[in-house]
């Protein structure tokens, strides 16, 4: 409790709570559960001092941290650490999308990942870009499936490239008024 009091009263307006996990898969799972429960959380890069490489963390409103940590404990989701962090130190996921209309096909790019669908039948026809190991895996699982029935990329993804594909997936559904 002493730790939480310290972070509540120190620059309360500028500090966020950051949850650090062992790997990206756990972040994606925690994000899914927390969002489903209505918590306003975001995925971000961990602060540079503790970044190991290709990792994600969860940013949460510090005022809600006690409830969120308890919620995760009840759901048996383990995290490595909880820290407070100045907002300026955090890198945010990309939020700029490139959209290319090929007529019959529509392609959306988020960061380094591109998702292309057939607009007539909503079939995922191609996935390109990226460099993390789940990109070929996601392509092998999703190409040929309909946007309406395919699993969301984040259900299969384990890396940041997979997460970027999820953003392209959400954008393409938004553009087609499917979300």
């Amino acid at each position: 409790m002493k730790f939480f009091k310290k972070i509540f009263f120190k620059n309360k307006k500028n500090f966020k709570g950051i949850l650090i996990f062992e790997n990206t898969s756990q972040v994606i799972e925690a994000e899914r559960i927390l969002k489903a429960a209505g918590y306003k959380i975001k995925v971000v890069a961990p602060p540079s001092a503790i970044r190991k490489g290709c990792d994600l963390a969860i940013e949460l409103p510090i005022i809600e941290s006690l409830g969120i940590l308890e919620f995760l404990k009840n759901k048996k989701i383990e995290y490595l650490d909880f820290i407070s962090c100045n907002d300026n130190e955090l890198l945010k996921p990309v939020d700029i999308f490139q959209i290319k209309d090929f007529g019959k096909y529509l392609m959306v790019r988020a960061a380094n990942m591109k998702l292309t669908i057939d607009k007539e039948n909503l079939i995922i026809v191609n996935i390109s870009g990226g460099g993390c190991p789940d990109v070929p895996y996601l392509a092998s699982k999703l190409i040929g499936l309909s946007l309406n029935t395919a699993p969301q990329p984040k259900e299969l993804a384990n890396t940041l490239c997979g997460y970027a594909l999820q953003l392209a997936y959400e954008k393409i559904k938004e553009l087609l008024c499917l979300s």
Partner: protein, 284 residues
């Protein structure tokens, strides 16, 4: 020896290494059959198609299964760090792998001991790892697309997922991105920037731009960047210098794509068979 390193999306595939053979729709390595879909298997298949034309031996490949959980990548980094010197590589192309700074640094330490130094080419996840490790200028060639160039240009981004918006918004200002990537030492000696127009860059200077034929559909097709890196790597192994290899490779990859008369739904396996015809057209 020409070495290609990467992962394939088969979770339980152990580390396999040996000369790759190209069958109709798969690669055969150590009696394992690896489907040619996209990623490193497409890169290897494209390289073999080039080497066939020059009647050179097929590449020696190191592959392991990884679907993004990182266990396979970790083992691959470790094995190569401990064993790469045995293989006396002339050209090494590193491709899909989980970006991991520690694993990458150990491997780079092993590469630094090689004499003579091989030509080092990096694409995909390994390129991300090298940038994060701060060793970009130790490499001879990176092959980023425009989004990945913006990541190289962003000295703070640990992954393209975090590239800051002001760089992505200015993506068309490619010269500024190139300048910035070299300024912060996040570029290899040569860069091949893949896109609607392919830019060949050496130490910050644009040497050439390849934009013919333009086949818009190729941007959507997964694996066209992989085949380009494979073609260029094989050309370097056959004796072309990096600038020549990039120039010819871009032309061949574009022409092979055009010959397949693609749509955005075309799969990379449909393009790879056209590589020898495209190469013969461009060179002879």
């Amino acid at each position: 020896m020409f070495i290609i390193v990467g992962i394939v999306p088969i979770e339980d595939l152990p580390l396999i290494y040996g000369e790759a053979k190209l069958l109709e729709k798969s690669l055969e390595i150590q009696n394992y059959s690896i489907p040619i879909e996209r990623g490193t298997s497409a890169l290897i298949a494209a390289a073999i198609k080039v080497l066939e034309v020059f009647k050179k031996e097929n590449p020696f490949t190191f592959l392991i299964g990884d679907i993004g959980k990182g266990r396979g990548s970790k083992n691959l980094y470790k094995f190569l760090s401990e064993n790469i010197e045995i293989y006396k590589p002339k050209v090494i192309t590193f491709h899909y792998i989980l970006p991991d700074v520690d694993g990458c640094l150990k491997l780079i330490l092993a590469l630094e001991k090689l004499s003579p130094k091989p030509v080092l080419i990096a694409d995909a996840g390994f390129m991300y790892a090298v940038k994060m490790a701060g060793y970009s200028d130790f490499f001879d060639l990176f092959t980023p697309d425009l989004g990945e160039l913006a990541f190289l240009a962003d000295e703070k981004a640990p992954h393209p997922f975090y590239t800051r918006g002001f760089l992505l918004e200015n993506e068309n200002n490619i010269e500024e991105l190139i300048k910035r990537a070299y300024k912060y030492k996040n570029a290899s000696k040569y860069l091949l920037i893949k896109g609607k127009r392919d830019y060949i860059v050496c130490e910050g200077n644009i040497l050439n731009i390849i934009d013919n034929p333009i086949v818009e559909e190729l941007e959507a097709i997964g694996g066209t960047g992989d085949t380009l890196t494979g073609i260029i790597s094989a050309l370097v192994y056959t004796g072309f210098n990096l600038e020549e290899a990039c120039e010819i490779g871009c032309q061949v990859n574009r022409l092979a794509g055009a010959l397949s008369i693609p749509s955005p739904a075309t799969q990379i396996q449909e393009i790879i068979p056209y590589i020898p015809k495209a190469l013969n057209t461009i060179l002879f």
